[in-house]
Symmetry: C2
Subunit: 115 residues, 2 copies
């Protein structure tokens, strides 16, 4: 379950905006606020089964977007490059001037923040 | 018109997969293969007006995805960082060892290729 929660959480970060408001609300309550199906049902004033179906549907929609756009995979790839970059910069830190190093660090920070 | 073609082309590169096959076909014929509305109409066996409406709709869908996901903006931002990185690396090229430089260059290439 934890693995599923993390997976849906990441997908939701990228594609959540593409779900309906109602779907977003249920995903937030269930996966972020860790409410039970019954509690979400009460909150949304629908049946437990309807919550279950809606969550299944929302999860499938998110996975379908990832299949088509691959943003999560791309994010992880770029993050790996940024990590590699950080390692290289650490290694050459002693060999180059302070100004260049600061600029490199700034770019790494920018890439990390944006990614 | 050229500006619009470039804009739709970029949006289509990112979000084209999210259009229907039919919409993708019309966008390709009109914006990539530079056919006229009449020629697309003939190719797709629908009216010129229907082609016009479908293209308008497809363009709006692409713009709506960009509003929600911002991939084009993000792409441009990361590309700018990669350009900055290239410039810094060029500047410090003389000061650091060959091995580190090769690794940096490899990461820049990876980021550019993936972005």
């Amino acid at each position: 379950m934890l693995e599923r929660t993390v997976r849906v959480g990441i997908l939701f970060d990228f594609y959540g905006e593409l779900l309906t408001d109602r779907q977003q609300e249920m995903v937030r309550l269930y996966f972020y606020h860790d409410l039970s199906l019954g509690e979400v049902a009460e909150e949304c004033e629908i049946s437990r089964q309807a919550v279950y179906d809606n969550l299944q549907r929302a999860e499938k929609i998110l996975e379908d977007y990832e299949k088509k756009l691959g943003l999560v995979a791309r994010y992880k790839y770029i993050q790996q490059q940024v990590d590699d970059l950080t390692e290289v910069v650490d290694r050459i830190a002693q060999e180059i001037g302070d100004e260049s190093l600061e600029k490199l660090q700034q770019i790494i920070d920018n890439l990390s923040a944006e990614n």
